[in-house]
Amino acid sequence: MPITRTTTLYTLAIAAALGMLALSLSVGRFPISLAELFSLLWAQLTSGTANAPANADVVLFNIRGPRIVAAFSVGAALAAAGAAYQNLFRNPLVSPDILGVSSGAALGAVVGIFVGLPIIAIQGLAFGGGLVAVGFIYFVGDRIRGHDPVLTLVLAGVVIGSLLGSGIALTKYLADPYNQLPAITYWLLGSFASIAKKDLAVALPVIVIALLPLFLLRWRINLLSLPDDEARALGLDVRRTRFIVIVAPTLMTAAAVAICGIIGWVGLVVPHAVRLIAGAEFSRLLPLAAIIGGTFMLAIDTLGRTMAQIEIPPGVLTAAVGTPVFIWLMAVTFRRRA
């Protein structure tokens, strides 16, 4: 890939992200014009007064702002996690859910809702549930030696994931259909509507800290996509690198799912699409996937809160947009390979 093309891609991605950010901050039930937006931001920076309607600052900094930061960082986290997992599992059709982080988090949250815990405890259960599920699957996969370790992990993930799924189904079946079941369904569809600053205070640092090892290992992760023997012969500590590349995306995904519920597709479609455009090289793929994943998620959420009288859950919109895009990508790539 020529350097000029890489620079162009970064420029376009960053421009799209900034444009989407500005658009998303200004549109909504309480429109804020671009001029008012910049005035508000400037006032915030300089502690001055802004030339904007009353309450615009509350909308911007306490309601819309946190929601936008959440949507962008969750999208970026899921896309980065998906990109890493696709390399780890040597399969471009893998999503961050493959090791059960989402099902584990979902079961935790659903049980929390069922038992009637406060929001913060539900979030904690979701985060913990995701980590426990992946930890258990990794433990099982690591115990069963003497076979392709990646395949063992995938199989363990699929089986244990479906067990968690039946746990979710059982809880839904037992749940009170008037109060709990709608809450459970709402959570499983994912939403950024109720994001507050305090949700971000925990989730955002986790996402950023977990991105760091992925970013540092970004070139070496390329070697993980080779067969184990080949990577080891090239001097890669495969077991340790694989462990880091399982843990970091798990933390990111669990933190994302804990604050906004299950968001599908972003972690699968965005890295796959970026790989088609920018190539497979991971040190280029990771930042681009994160920026584009964040922008995509922000676009979906902005669409979801503005296109109709009621909010359309991002889980519904990502699937509605993601499915045709994904089928198209599959057709294009596989036809090209044939």
Binding site: R218, S225, R275
Partner: protein, 264 residues
């Protein structure tokens, strides 16, 4: 510093199964060794043992005077390079990116290849006359071209010993000789080369020097080792593969002829 690779009464296999024992050989810089044996005889296992990926069940592998078992994976990777059979790989990397992967053993865990690494990778491609492949996509190359790129990757690791796993398997007739000649050139430039093959003529073609050797592993794990032309007689090949094999003199060396196989 020129250190050879040697095996001393090596026993190879897995914890539950021994494949072959009493493997001893010495490979000098600038020489080649061919490994022949039927499928499942342990050629790949021997490679994994030589690379330090699999512990030896007995005996030892040495680099110069140093035992492989006492070396770090990074040090081994800088000295011995492994050239796998060319597959398309899982993702579509560019050729230069594939070759640069060899620099992993020379870089810190958080580092990316820099200008010097790029230069070494380009030089490795140039050494094999495939510099113009650099910006092409690996998956779009032919099997023989991919095999050359993987050899270039081994060169870019600056290893002095190359282990090639069936480099001519699944290649068309012309590409097989392209690769064999590349191996001969590497050998002549001072690299030590070990390669496995299913074709005795390939061993006879490459291993022509006085320091060159051939190692055969029979299905029952018995080992034969020696100068190639002396070792690969018609009778020896007949015993190795269980076929009526005879060598006939050809204009450029012996040719392997197989009489109609008796049903086994």
């Amino acid at each position: 510093m020129s250190v050879g690779l040697s095996a001393h009464a090596l026993t190879i296999g897995y914890p539950t199964r021994e494949l072959a024992r009493d493997i001893s050989f010495t490979l000098e810089p600038g020489s080649a060794m061919a490994i022949l044996g039927p499928n499942g005889s342990g050629k790949t296992t021997l490679f994994r043992t030589l690379l330090g990926l699999l512990p030896a069940r007995g005996g030892e592998v040495k680099l110069g005077a140093q035992a492989i078992a006492a070396m770090t994976p990074t040090d081994i990777a800088r000295t011995i390079a492994y050239v796998p059979q060319a597959t398309t790989g899982f993702f579509n990397f560019h050729v230069i990116e594939v070759v640069e992967m060899a620099r992993a053993a020379h870089l810190a865990w958080y580092a990316q290849p820099g200008a010097r690494d790029r230069e070494i990778a380009m030089q490795a491609l140039a050494d094999l006359n495939i510099r113009h492949f650099a910006t092409r996509e690996f998956a779009e190359l032919s099997g023989g071209e991919r095999q050359l790129v993987l050899i270039a990757r081994a060169l870019a690791s600056e290893a002095r010993i190359l282990l090639l796993d069936e480099p001519t398997a699944s290649l068309d007739f012309g590409n097989q000789f392209l690769i064999l000649d590349a191996i001969s050139r590497l050998k002549n430039s001072g690299t030590a080369v070990i390669f496995t093959t299913h074709n005795p003529e390939h061993a006879l073609r490459v291993c022509t020097g006085t320091a060159d050797r051939t190692l055969t592993i029979a299905r029952d794990g018995s080992i034969a080792y020696g100068p190639t032309a002396a070792l690969l007689t018609g009778d020896a090949l007949a015993a190795l593969y269980g076929l009526p094999i005879a060598l006939v003199a050809g204009p450029n060396g012996p040719l392997v002829q197989v009489a109609a196989a008796a049903p086994r």
